[in-house]
């Protein structure tokens, strides 16, 4: 697919007006205010907290609003070891999050079970919910989380929310 620049701006002609596509405007708004659902389950949550604190300052990426209600969150950061018992709660919270939603698997445990090759630990949260970004590390440093967040932002830029909405609407007419 041919990708042209999503934004056209010429200060001499247009003054304070920017021409863009609604898809890219929506993407721009979405990616710059990702409200995370902090699914802190183990030591990764400590690094997640550090990423939210002043030194690393996740607010630079518009993701500082940690929401403890799934109804208000956009991205679930699964930070830590997911035991089978906890996996039920994680899945439930994921289901309660409204679309559009994304998921970051932070650290080795959330990505693959990590060092816990055990009867009690889910071997990667991707067995239950779709994951957009995996972050390696045990635990990953806050920089790694920020890098993962920036990757997610880049991924969101490539989405076509309105086009997809239209396609779904047309499909519902045809059905």
């Amino acid at each position: 697919m041919l990708q042209t620049s999503p934004v056209a701006y010429d200060s001499k002609i247009e003054g304070n007006i920017i021409f863009t596509q609604i898809d890219s405007a929506m993407n721009w708004m979405r990616k710059n205010s990702l409200w995370p659902m902090p699914m802190g389950l183990a030591c990764c949550a400590i690094e997640l907290m550090a990423a939210g604190a002043s030194r690393f300052d996740i607010a630079r990426f518009g993701a500082e609003v940690m929401r403890f209600s799934p109804r208000q969150s956009d991205v679930m950061i699964v930070a830590g070891t997911v035991t089978y018992k906890m996996a039920l709660a994680v899945k439930r919270i994921w289901d309660q999050m409204p679309e559009p939603k994304w998921c970051i698997a932070m650290g080795a445990c959330a990505s693959s079970g990590g060092m816990y090759r055990s009867y009690a630990v889910l071997q990667g949260i991707d067995q239950l919910i779709p994951v957009d970004v995996y972050i390696s590390g045990c635990p990953p440093r806050p920089e790694a989380l920020l890098e993962g967040l920036m990757r997610l932002q880049r991924k969101i830029e490539t989405e076509h929310p309105l086009r997809e909405q239209k396609r779904e609407l047309i499909a519902s007419f045809n059905a």
Binding site: K85, L88, R117, Y119, A120, Q123
Partner: protein, 191 residues
């Protein structure tokens, strides 16, 4: 001081209850007692001998021996700093132990854990549910015949589990007097 008071404690217990075996190891006293008497003995230990605190209650699986299971009670007397361990043997055919929750309320979650991991039923426990695994999980994972990787289990729409991939594992220490190299957790795949 603690040792002197513990001797009188042991003789007081021996005068009233059956003690199958008394073990001394590194200053720790262990009494193996009868399963049917454990509740009366625990009440005696708390009310008369002053063991106000139950430090721990745990199960043990001695797989391959009969009786297979053990339940261990760790008692503590705060005034004299005395520590006493009680053990009862539990056979696999009669996996029932009287609960001591009425004596020490802290036994609640300990007994639930022993039930969850070994399947030992504590009669008289008011709320004997699983505590670590989810409700309806079909296995008792700390039994020695249960593989570390786990077994696949399935509960539609609620929960599932699969055997974990153990590439070259399980990575566990081997109890022996050999060198660290032989004891440490490492891949021991025989292939």
């Amino acid at each position: 001081m603690a040792a002197a008071s513990l001797n009188s404690v042991v003789s007081a217990i021996q005068a009233k209850f059956q003690v199958a075996q008394k073990t001394e190891f590194r200053g720790e006293t262990t009494l193996t007692v009868e399963r049917t008497e454990i509740k009366d003995l625990c009440a005696f230990c708390k009310d008369t001998l002053g063991f106000a605190m139950l430090l721990d209650l745990s199960g043990v699986d001695n797989f391959g021996t009969e009786p297979r299971f053990e339940v261990v009670y760790e008692l503590y007397q705060m005034d004299t700093d005395a520590h006493l361990r009680l053990k009862i043997a539990v056979s696999e055919d009669a996996l029932e132990v009287p609960s001591v929750i009425t004596i020490w309320p802290t036994a609640d979650w300990h007994e639930r854990e022993a039930f969850d991991m070994y399947g030992i039923t504590f009669t008289g426990h008011p709320d004997l549910r699983r505590i670590l695994m989810w409700e309806g999980y079909p296995f008792f994972p700390l039994r020695k015949d249960f593989p570390l990787a786990g077994r696949a289990s399935d509960m539609p729409d609620v929960a599932f589990s699969k055997a974990a991939p153990l590439a070259g594992g399980p990575f566990v220490t081997v109890p022996s007097t050999a060198t660290t190299k032989d004891r440490e957790p490492r891949s021991r795949e025989q292939s």
